[in-house]
Symmetry: C2
Subunit: 620 residues, 2 copies
């Protein structure tokens, strides 16, 4: 059924055409390739929360034409009869047997997910590492045959810059431009750490052109990028996209597994990420009518795994106890070394990681929240698959990391999905039934993290589940499903795909485990500081889920402590703002590094009271 290629006498290897609709991409693969592998190699990013293990059921696609292998047991468990009848399959399970046409529903495509690049906006005084100087150099003549480098250094020395390092890549790129412009140029000089007078020539640019910086926030799910004028600190343009590594596993653990289990897996994850960032750079520069060569400094923040994958460090040890980082100090390397297409001399700065699961993005978030200088008592949480929590109290900073799992991202939830159009994001119980609101105001297809937390809080308040999370069988909205009980949130008639959207006992349990992990972290930090939650002046909730979270539901479900709502502050992407501060301010870098050195990290898994606190936190 597939076409044979090559000379039929010598080689009868077969190949199949895979048409991916509605995107219009065609991929050629060998028979036996899974659809997930085919989409990955074509660059189309399917939601694959579990990394292709078959456990999340998110990578639904529909076969329009052609032949696939038979349904697996995993598929019959994850897909409804109606879905199977309509041709739905799981991309990670179905293998291609012939030329096929595949329809990818919007909820299985990562690219449509809601992006969040806004954050706090605390302005700081720019104090950048790279400063411009415009010079007009004397031209070489038969009686002045100094090398370009010697000529440049002499001119800089005349202007008071006598200790200047000059690197080969900067000259290789810049001296031809110098000749074209009659030896007038703007030179970017970057402060070296060795002494106040020691600088490095980082760029040779057109006279009076702006020195730009790039701040990148590498989230496990999303990338945000900001183009900044280094001298004014102004954000010229910002943009965002999905982290393309999602096609290789939605959470950190799946990506580490991909890196470990595939040849060149680490390199693939790195190059996909860098390629996406380079696209963002082109987009930012195009919008700002400038060139990537004007970007002379880059700051990137991300959790420890994203940090390591971005710069090419091993991640295997992040997936195995005792989960240590390879690099904890801040680091600097040439941006081109990781493949970023910016000025050849531009340096890339990454703030320190605190631990294997408390990364540089948390440091940036704390910096943007000014937690390091706070005299008040502040609790700051960045909720995600992994939740980082820091408590500032009495001049002390202590932090921990909670394995909250992917339930708040919609994973491991029967009808869970990420925050894409069609996801239920708000749930209220009134008049004996659940009222839901979806992203994009469409008919619901599933439920995302903020929706399920709402549903649980409302179900508990309405007495449909008890404080242990057990559904009360006698309630009319309780249905029996394969021997277990479930809460019916939306009847089949009101959904897009024509099947009930339900919340099972197991779903409630997943959320219980997640919220207990986070609450236990909060309680242990409070206990270590010997204060009570009522002593807190403020609670900062950062990150995508934290932004859309209903704080009321979070309190009533026991995820967050009971404090007046006005003491809560949902700050969005504070890590991105921190990255911008680090880009334009040397003192911000010093603060971040000091904070990382002084913060006390509490390892919860070995903490004496963790198990008890966790168990108590399971209750609603």
């Amino acid at each position: 059924m597939c076409v044979a290629t090559g000379d039929i006498m010598t080689d009868d290897k077969q190949q199949c055409h895979v048409d991916l609709e509605p995107i219009g991409r065609r991929e050629i693969v060998e028979p036996g390739t899974t659809i997930l592998a085919a989409t990955q190699s074509s660059g189309v990013e399917l939601v694959a929360t579990c990394g292709g293990m078959g456990t999340c059921g998110n990578c639904r696609i529909r076969l329009e034409k052609g032949e696939l292998t038979s349904l697996t047991l995993i598929e019959t468990g994850k897909l409804s009869t109606a879905e199977i009848g309509a041709g739905y399959r799981l991309a990670c399970q179905a293998e291609i047997l012939s030329d096929v046409r595949i329809d990818i529903p919007p909820e299985s495509l990562t690219a449509l997910q809601r992006l969040q690049i806004e954050g706090l906006s605390v302005s700081i005084t720019p104090d950048p590492l790279v400063l411009p100087i415009d010079l007009n150099l004397p031209q070489p003549t038969l009686t002045d045959i100094r090398s370009d480098e010697a000529r440049l250094k002499a001119s800089l020395a005349e202007h008071g810059f006598s200790e200047i390092d000059v690197s080969v890549p900067v000259l290789a790129n810049g001296v031809e431009k110098l000749r074209e412009t009659g030896w007038s140029a703007r030179f970017g000089l970057r402060q070296k750490s060795t002494s106040a007078t020691h600088k490095e020539l980082i760029a040779i640019l057109p006279v009076q052109s702006p020195l730009l910086g790039l701040a990148i926030d590498i989230g496990t799910t999303k990338l945000a990028a900001y183009l900044i004028d280094l001298s004014t600190g102004a954000t010229l343009v910002k943009t965002g996209t999905m982290n393309p590594q999602i096609a290789y596993g939605e959470d950190v653990v799946s990506r580490i597994a991909y890196a470990n289990n595939n040849e060149a897996g680490r390199q693939i994850l790195q190059s996909r990420l860098v390629k996406s960032i380079n696209s963002l750079i082109r987009e930012l520069c195009s919008t700002a009518h400038t060139a990537p060569e004007q970007i002379v400094e880059v700051v990137a923040v991300g959790n420890t795994a994203m940090h390591h994958l971005f710069v090419g460090l091993p991640v295997r040890q992040l997936g195995e106890a005792p989960y240590v980082a390879t690099v904890s100090d801040s680091c600097e390397l040439r941006a081109r070394e990781v493949g970023l297409q910016v000025s050849p001399g531009a340096m890339l700065y990454l703030p320190p990681n605190i631990a294997g699961y408390v990364g540089a993005d948390h440091v940036a978030m704390l910096l943007a929240s000014s937690l390091g200088q706070a005299s008040r008592s502040i609790l700051a949480l960045d909720i995600g698959t992994n939740t980082e929590i820091t408590l500032a109290y009495g001049g002390r900073l202590i932090c921990c990391s909670c394995a909250s799992g992917p339930a708040f991202e919609g994973a491991h939830i029967r009808d869970g999905m990420r925050a894409v159009p069609g996801a239920i994001e708000r749930v209220r119980f009134a008049n004996d039934h659940f009222q839901v609101h979806t992203i994009g105001d469409t008919l619901p297809v599933g439920i995302c993290g903020s929706g399920i937390l709402d549903a649980i809080a409302e179900a508990f308040a309405a007495g449909i589940i008890d404080r242990r999370g057990v559904p009360r069988k006698e309630h009319p909205l309780i249905a029996e499903l394969n021997g277990t009980v479930a809460v019916r949130l939306v009847p089949a008639s009101a959904t897009k795909h024509g099947r009930d959207i339900i919340m099972t006992r197991a779903d409630v349990n997943e959320i219980q485990l997640a919220k207990a992990a986070i609450r236990a972290g909060v309680e242990i930090l409070l206990a270590e500081s010997e204060i009570d939650s009522t002593d807190l002046d403020e609670i900062i909730v950062a990150g995508a889920f934290g932004t859309y979270l209903n704080i009321g539901s979070a309190i009533s479900s026991g995820l967050l402590p009971e404090l007046p709502l006005e003491q809560y502050h949902q700050v969005g992407n504070a890590a991105g703002l921190g990255a911008q501060h680090l880009l334009i301010s040397r003192s911000a870098r010093a603060s971040a590094e000091k904070m990382a050195r002084t913060i006390e990290y509490i390892e919860l898994t070995t903490h004496a009271s963790f198990t008890d606190t966790f168990t108590q936190s399971l209750y609603f």
Copy 2:
């Protein structure tokens, strides 16, 4: 005649097969491609002294089968009737019209050329930048979750190394090995220039494995590479090959032209060079039963153009007055940045260039000859297409560069060829005829630089040419050729190709120009130092031609000053030895840098007495 490829209905682009014999390489090209371009793209290195301009006539090949374009006027001028009859063509002129079989005679292949990697062997005390320390680190546990970097830095601090920079590429490559070996390893620490106690971690290697260094001499014609044990200074293995850039032009000027006139020309020249060096690295390591990852430090020397092309700097300005270098100071960059396949952290050091035409290789040669510390009066010459000369006198070093041209490499000489088998390398006149000796003791096919200098010296002594270089028409060995006169060195019956090997008036003139340029340089340096040639204690002659040169002929032709032969010292590849010293000794680097700072460069082209001195030096 050529085969059509692709679907005949959509694409009738034709392709020709080019079989290159006796090498056995096949290349596929479009009709109209020159044979030179076909050999270049197949990686076969034809002698192309003029860079394919049609002026050197060196790229002779023989058509065995198939069809080429008609003979050009250039070919009828360069090839004898017998050669044309035998199917000889010039590869740069003949274009391929059908599938062809081409025979490449040995003298047109660069790969057979005599290699010279021997040199002086002055031993120095090793004082390398990179030193080893063997450590056994405590393993991470649930109660010791420091990052790999923090763990390593703490162990190093315990051993007295508290100021250590650690770079991402070294960790990226090394920490997995650390885990495999149970946290025991040898760490290579490299001295930083900022302070005596400041070091950088450069490599993580197996315990007790040797730290190796690589010294490379990048000649315009030849590459030499030396694998060195950094702790003992011992040369473990050495090897050499032709500079693959020869396929793009034999001399520096042709290569600069290639870089300027071809898209990505500079990148092609760089990548070919790096590829060849990487082959040498693999060969050296295989012979020494070690791995390229053990190479933790690299030194490369070359003339300014080779230096610039190797690290990716522009060379256009080296080909245009006033011929300035881009970089003159010594430079250090990561060896991987230029593409060398050695330890990821290894640094590449290049000593300083003195001027556009006095490069880092001359500095290395002076270093190996200990000229910087000499109290005696020493003249040192590196004779080639460009000849660099330095005079050490009274604690002063002065140098110049002479455009001696490629005549000593056999170019621009009617029957000239490079020092490959079949080349006449020695000539004596006795019993009324010339006696010749060829490399490889074969029948002669042409004459190389040392042969032609001998021939001129002998012809002058025998009265066949006068002191102006004009042949005496009455001599029986003088023949008339196309209206000019020539000296017959070998009759057709005694040559391999069956045509006379002659020396024309123009050939003599080429040598006269070359030797006058060099001698004028010598005389101007002596005049600037206010000494006479008889005040010289020693004359050092370096380089390939300098090694095989008959000093007697050089003196009697006026190339070199008349001094007792025992004051002459032919040192071979002193630049390669200098590179080895720079590799193992920090004080050698300091000496080289000091020498480059203090040496006085005399620009001959603008020197007041150059024209007069040059004219006087034309006479034999």
